[in-house]
């Protein structure tokens, strides 16, 4: 069958660097942009829409558009942390559907390793950031926030460290085939649960990597896609949501995917059973477990069981995930993993993933981004992609 699509992802590029000592951040943006535009079979002069998030220096996209020599008639700088770029895919699709642009470029870049910054600092909002005084003095860092979600999930549903470890094990099985992956060693459940505790109950190997790098996507109109051949991936559905602390009614056992997922599935006219491959934001192992539940791949609370025994390993389990090695092993450029999620999903529906991890006859793929913090406020976004003939 041939599904209709308002826009296509025509170009992808994942910067191969994982430590960018000798390149500036704008340079990484532009190298990624050129890579994606060339991958699409287009030129930078064809770009008429530019999308970026807070990693781009300057006011929204202004400075980067100038640096890259873009001439655009549409721009969007929605910032939701690591999920921004998944949101941008939907916003680009909408802009294209409204006739506001026809070739939309999305870029991400950063170099936290080269700059010696473990995780992103917060912009200084003075005393205007309303939650700041009620959180910062208690020293919430990224790890202990996700750890509180894991602790609560374990308490309510009996999820175990061994079950969480399977997420990392699956990612490592895929990363061994990715020459660019930061971590290529296959690990076992024992390796994960015997790695040092960072913050209870998360071990070092429950946490994603920190890498420099970047990525870019090119989203085009159906008319442009027609001229570019069959490597274009159809955007079939998209959803986004913000989940927050809800005035003090806190529940850390679910994510914004409970909202973004159904919106995307409804738009695509598909259900989780139709999905051949998933890219799931994997800042931590618990992020994957909660997200899979929220997207409907299993019942709430059953995520630990669902990911166990290799169920996420391509060629082994029922739901191959993050076949590039994900953020847990491959790449988490600038602590923002959304763009690499979309990139690997496009590789899968093109049939261009590594042969050892390529899902046979991959027709429908889902990519999901989580940005901000699972334990406070997050931007969630889900995109469902189809092969060119889907």
């Amino acid at each position: 069958m041939s599904r209709t699509s308002k826009a296509y992802i025509a170009g992808i590029y994942e910067h191969p660097t994982r430590k960018a000592i000798d390149k500036t951040i704008p340079q990484l943006h532009m190298e990624s942009a050129i890579g994606a535009v060339q991958d699409a079979g287009l030129t930078m002069a064809d770009v008429d829409g530019y999308f970026c998030a807070g990693d781009a220096a300057g006011l929204g996209g202004l400075s980067m558009a100038e640096y890259m020599g873009l001439d655009v008639r549409y721009t969007d700088s929605t910032e939701t942390g690591g999920s921004s770029y998944v949101i941008h895919v939907g916003h680009a699709m909408n802009a294209i559907a409204m006739g506001k642009c026809s070739v939309a470029l999305i870029t991400l870049a950063g170099r936290p390793r080269a700059e010696g910054v473990a995780t992103l600092g917060t912009r200084d909002y003075g005393n205007s950031l309303p939650d700041l005084g009620f959180e910062a003095p208690y020293r919430p860092v990224v790890t202990n926030q996700y750890a509180m979600a894991a602790m609560r999930h374990m308490h309510e549903f009996g999820t175990t460290s061994e079950q969480l470890a399977w997420v990392k094990v699956a990612a490592s099985h895929h990363a061994q085939h990715n020459e660019h992956a930061l971590l290529r060693d296959v690990v076992t459940v024992e390796d994960v649960v015997n790695s040092p505790i960072i913050t209870d109950p998360l071990h070092r190997l429950d946490c994603c990597v920190i890498t420099d790098g970047g990525g870019a996507l090119v989203v085009v109109s159906p008319e442009v896609a027609k001229t570019l051949g069959d490597r274009c991936a159809k955007i079939l559905g998209h959803g986004e949501a913000i989940k927050h602390l809800n005035a003090g009614q806190v529940d850390l056992t679910y994510t914004g995917a409970v909202k973004s997922g159904p919106i995307a599935f409804d738009e695509a006219g598909l259900t989780p059973a139709d999905i051949d491959y998933v890219s799931i934001y994997d800042s931590f192992t618990i992020t994957v477990v909660e997200t899979l539940e929220d997207l409907g791949f299993c019942e709430k609370g059953q995520g630990g069981k669902f990911v166990s025994d290799g169920n996420l390993i391509s060629g082994v389990g029922k739901l191959p995930f993050n076949t590039d090695g994900g953020g847990l092993c491959n790449n988490h450029p600038n602590n923002r993993g959304g763009i690499t999620k979309v990139i690997e999903a496009v590789r899968q529906v093109r049939g261009e993933a590594h042969p050892k991890v390529q899902v046979p006859d991959c027709t429908i793929a889902l990519a999901h981004g989580t940005g901000g913090s699972i334990a406070t406020r997050m931007g969630s976004s889900t995109v469902i992609l189809g092969r060119n003939d889907a």
Binding site: G126, N127, S128, L129, P130, D131, L132, G133, F134, E135, A136, P137, Y138, R139, P140, V141, T143, N144, Q145, A147, M148, A149, M151, R152, H155, P196, I197, I198, T199, D200, P201, L202, L245, A247, G248, Q249, V250, L252, A375, T376
Partner: protein, 134 residues
């Protein structure tokens, strides 16, 4: 509740305070935990705001909280020189707030454990509500 725990306790940074929240921090200095309740919808919200996020009424008022609650979730940071326990505590008033658990054996913390408010001096001559097991 050992002296070692005290010796190891970290320094607390000064909280960010603005016009909407200065009464909360003034109360903390006086050894009280206060919350904001909305007179229009009757509900308590957290963190406290001038305008009720549940019904948009500006008729919000401070009141003294019981200072009692239970641990909703927690995590003990094992990395770094000074371990510390971050937590969410669900107060008897029905809202859940981020905090630290102090005066405790980190290895015996548990979800559902009853806790009460206590206070710690911060940098910049401010006082911060934290919680300890009862």
């Amino acid at each position: 509740m050992t002296t070692m725990d005290q010796a190891l306790e970290r320094t607390y940074p000064k909280p960010s305070i603005n016009m909407e929240t200065e009464a909360y921090w003034a109360a903390a200095k006086a050894g009280k935990l206060v919350l904001k309740k909305c007179n229009a919808c009757g509900k308590t919200h957290f963190y406290p705001r001038a305008i009720c996020p549940l019904c948009t009424s500006s008729d919000t008022a401070w009141y003294d909280a019981s200072g009692k609650g239970v641990i909703y979730s927690y995590s003990v940071m094992r990395r770094g020189a000074t371990p510390y326990a971050i937590a969410y505590v669900t107060l008897d008033e029905g809202v859940t707030m981020m905090t630290n658990i102090v005066d405790c054996d980190f290895d015996s913390l548990a979800i559902g454990q009853a806790v009460e408010v206590t206070f710690r001096a911060t940098e910049g001559d401010q006082v911060l509500p934290v919680f300890r097991p009862i």
